[in-house]
């Protein structure tokens, strides 16, 4: 087993080398003439207004949290799946209980509309966006 992970280590080192070599060659042969305008960030040819480092949408955080919970769930599922054939019915019931709790969690965030990514506030047209909860713009 250590031997296998030793191989992985070799792969990591070789991978780093393979990434480093082109960077090095580029450093050696590419020209470098910096100027103030050239180093500006791209904003479609206009001067950038303000920094891009701002507070972004809270929904990314919510999604990340839900992801974390489910990812841990999947991690639990892997060993269960491996030995499932040996354990049989009992494992199914146990994992069923575990999963149902998590599915209840999924149902909760679903109902709370945290999975609806965007709450629009459009003036005209509802159609398929009618069920999307609208929020007031500030």
């Amino acid at each position: 087993m250590y031997r296998d992970f030793g191989t992985v280590l070799v792969a990591v080192i070789l991978g780093i080398v393979m990434v480093a070599i082109p960077l090095l060659i580029q450093k050696l042969i590419a020209p470098s003439k910096k100027s103030k305008d050239k180093l500006q960030t791209y904003e479609c040819g206009e001067e950038a207004e303000g920094s891009a480092w701002l507070q972004f949408n809270i929904r990314f955080y919510v999604i990340a949290l839900i992801f974390l919970i489910f990812d841990v769930e999947i991690v639990f599922l892997f060993p269960w799946a491996v030995v499932f054939k040996e354990l049989g019915l009992l494992a199914l019931i146990e994992m069923g209980i575990f999963l149902i709790i998590l599915i209840a969690g999924l149902a909760y965030v679903w109902v709370k509309a945290d999975l609806d990514w965007v709450k629009r506030n459009v003036r005209y047209g509802t159609g398929r966006y009618q069920d999307v909860r609208m929020e007031k713009t500030t």
Binding site: L14, G15, Q26, K36, Y42, A52, F67, A81, K85
Partner: protein, 344 residues
């Protein structure tokens, strides 16, 4: 560890890396030629015969371009990000078996760089590391377009990773092992022992998730050029930009290889027992692996040049409200079926 063993490992790693890089180049060439063919254009046909040397010319051009780090960027992270993306992309292939065992110098050499006992976890873990590359690239550029691209991309990747992981769980239920070798061995024999016939739903979920994971159309929102110009790599130039490019294609190659391994019997050629044929069997198995992989790589290109792009909320909706419940459902069905079969 003996010297010969070490050399074999080194050679295998090098061969796999070189093969991956070569396939990346071929893919970049094919992507342009096949898309040109689909769109009634010619595509690159000037550099070398049929334009075959075009990717190499591109590579040289990338190396000779000036590298620009924007003034407001977080420099160390900015430089690190493409490496974080590319290295795992190259390494993932290490655990994928690409042929039946070969006997050389009196020892049996598996055609697989590292037969890690948690192979599939290794793959999932490495693909997750790639997300850091994208987020950091988007964040460190200090450009709004990059930031939006990076955020979108990370949310997208983590959403589809769940569905992908769950689809894989149902495969593991069947094989009872996390080793990719065992999963391949489990699918040996006749055609219908391939997992795609046993787990069609898981296959569809996995395939869709793979497209989202590799940021390909119809899920290429992080680099949706009509909205975000270049997405997370807007600010990158020169060889660093090329690295994002290579990582994308390396990820595609790994994804295709993984699809083949998990669902299409890996290197298995149906109805033939490769291990009994000696060296011929190995050649046959490698060829069959490459053919299957080639098909899925072609599918990547085909889909990309056919479909429009999803919108962001539609993508998340599909991931969380369709794929995730379906994958959970699939696990229940599979586990239930296995239990019933064991009891009866």
């Amino acid at each position: 560890m003996d010297l010969l063993g070490f050399i074999i490992i080194l050679v295998k790693v090098l061969v796999v890396f070189a093969a991956t890089m070569l396939t990346v180049l071929v893919m970049i060439y094919l992507e342009r030629r096949v898309s040109a063919f689909m769109q009634g254009r010619l595509g690159p046909n000037r550099v070398g015969p049929q334009g075959l040397l075009q990717p190499i010319a591109d590579g040289i051009k990338f190396m000779m371009k000036e590298d620009i780090v924007p003034a407001g960027a977080d420099k160390p992270i900015f430089i690190l990000a493409p490496a974080i993306l590319l290295i795992p992309a190259l390494m993932t292939f290490a655990v994928i078996p690409f042929g039946s065992d070969i006997t050389l110098f009196g020892r049996q050499i598996p055609l697989q760089v590292a037969d890690v006992n948690v192979g599939i976890l290794y793959v999932l873990a490495l693909t997750s590391i790639g997300v850091y590359g994208i987020v950091l690239a988007g964040w460190s550029s200090n450009s709004k377009y990059s930031l939006l691209g990076g955020l979108r991309s990370s949310a997208q990747l983590i959403s589809y990773e769940l569905a992908m992981g769950l689809a894989v769980v149902s495969i593991i239920l069947l094989s009872g092992s996390l080793k990719l070798n065992d999963i391949v061995a489990d699918q040996q024999g006749y055609l219908f022992s391939w997992n795609v016939f046993k787990q069609p739903l898981a296959f569809i979920i996995f395939l869709v998730a793979v497209y989202a994971e590799t940021n390909r159309l119809p899920f290429d929102l992080s680099e949706a050029e009509q909205e975000l110009v270049g997405g997370y790599h807007t600010e990158y130039s020169s060889i660093k930009f090329a690295m994002f490019f290579m990582a994308e294609y390396a990820n595609m190659i790994t994804a295709a290889a993984l699809t083949v391994t998990l669902f299409f019997g890996g290197w298995d050629f149906p109805l033939v027992d490769e291990s009994s044929l000696g060296i011929l069997g190995t050649v046959l198995s490698v060829c069959s692996f490459i053919l299957k992989m080639g098909f899925f790589l072609f599918l990547f290109i085909w889909v990309r040049w056919t479909f429009p792009r999803f919108r962001y909320d539609q993508l998340m909706k599909l991931g969380w409200k369709v794929m995730l419940p379906l994958a959970l459902f699939n696990i229940f069905i599979t586990a239930g079926y296995l239990t019933v079969r064991a009891l009866v």
